[in-house]
Amino acid sequence: MSVEAAIPEGYVKVFSKPKALSDAKYTYCPGCHHGIITRLVAEAIDELGILERTVGISPVGCAVFLDRFFNCDFVQAAHGRACAVATGIKRARPDLVVFTYQGDGDLAAIGAAETVHAANRGENITVIFVNNGVYGMTGGEMAPTTLPGQRTTTTPLGREPRLHGYPLKISEMLAQLEGPAYITRQAVFDYRHIVRAKQAILKAFRNQLEGKGFSLVEILSTCPTNWRMTPVEAGRWVAEHVVKVYPLGDLKDVG
């Protein structure tokens, strides 16, 4: 940390930036939950002591610059193809720990096929799925995950399911497959949920280390900028509305 502070004697440091994160400042907007999720992944890498053998696959979307934020190796995949790239790396180098970090546009729209087939094959990879219900990076267009009635730049009158489709519950779909080991949905809108989300991320990495196979952690996130809300309002929106369409909890766990 670039802060000089005189901490009096008798105090111990109880929270600081994880070692898996570089000093680069995030490019996320103020208050965006992407930042919390990115840090939780870094904390999990620290706690498991796997930084030297971890490779991340970054998406196209607001997390495209993950390679700058992390101190481990990264490959930036073409839009939606992160699970396919992860499959190749993990199969060629099973000794490495391979994870993808993808938005809902990336994972559930353009990359739906790659996601479904990697899950169905039970690839031994860890997938972090950041669901904020919009294409954040490109200006807040409707995603397959957008809530019914939600206004976006491409659904200015609100998403009308009969016209635009229903919210795509990717985690519920994947949980029906035989391939995956662990599918869970979490959120980070308050401290309690952040602690739970962290445990889920740790488990998804541990599953890979134990050879259990495809593990996906969906995390309900915010996009204050495109939702046109303050960061505090956006967090409340997830807690009050998004969780009703996307209930939290484990959808599949082979143990």
């Binding site: 802060v3 901490i7 008798g10 930036k17 995030y26 308050d190 401290y191 952040i194």
Partner: protein
């Protein structure tokens, strides 16, 4: 002496206010200072009330907070 001390990395803070909202003891507030990116940064408005629980740092999306907690003394332990 307060139980906790929060150190703000002023250049990382984006003034989102999530930490102010999350602190159970109303310790944090916006200062009158702006960083080089133009964000109004937070500071310990009521440092005496800080318990060092680190809830603020956990909810901070920009990893801008470091938290220190007083080691328990013999009498307290």
């Amino acid at each position: 002496m307060p139980k906790g001390i929060v150190v703000v990395d002023k250049e990382r803070c984006k003034g989102c206010g999530l930490c102010i909202e999350a602190c159970p003891f109303g310790v944090l507030g916006f200062s009158s200072e702006y960083n080089s990116s133009g964000y109004r940064v937070v500071y310990m408005e009521h440092p005496d009330k800080c318990t060092g629980c680190a809830i603020c740092a956990n909810v901070c999306p920009d990893v801008a907070l470091e938290v220190y907690r007083q080691e328990p003394t013999k009498e307290a332990a």
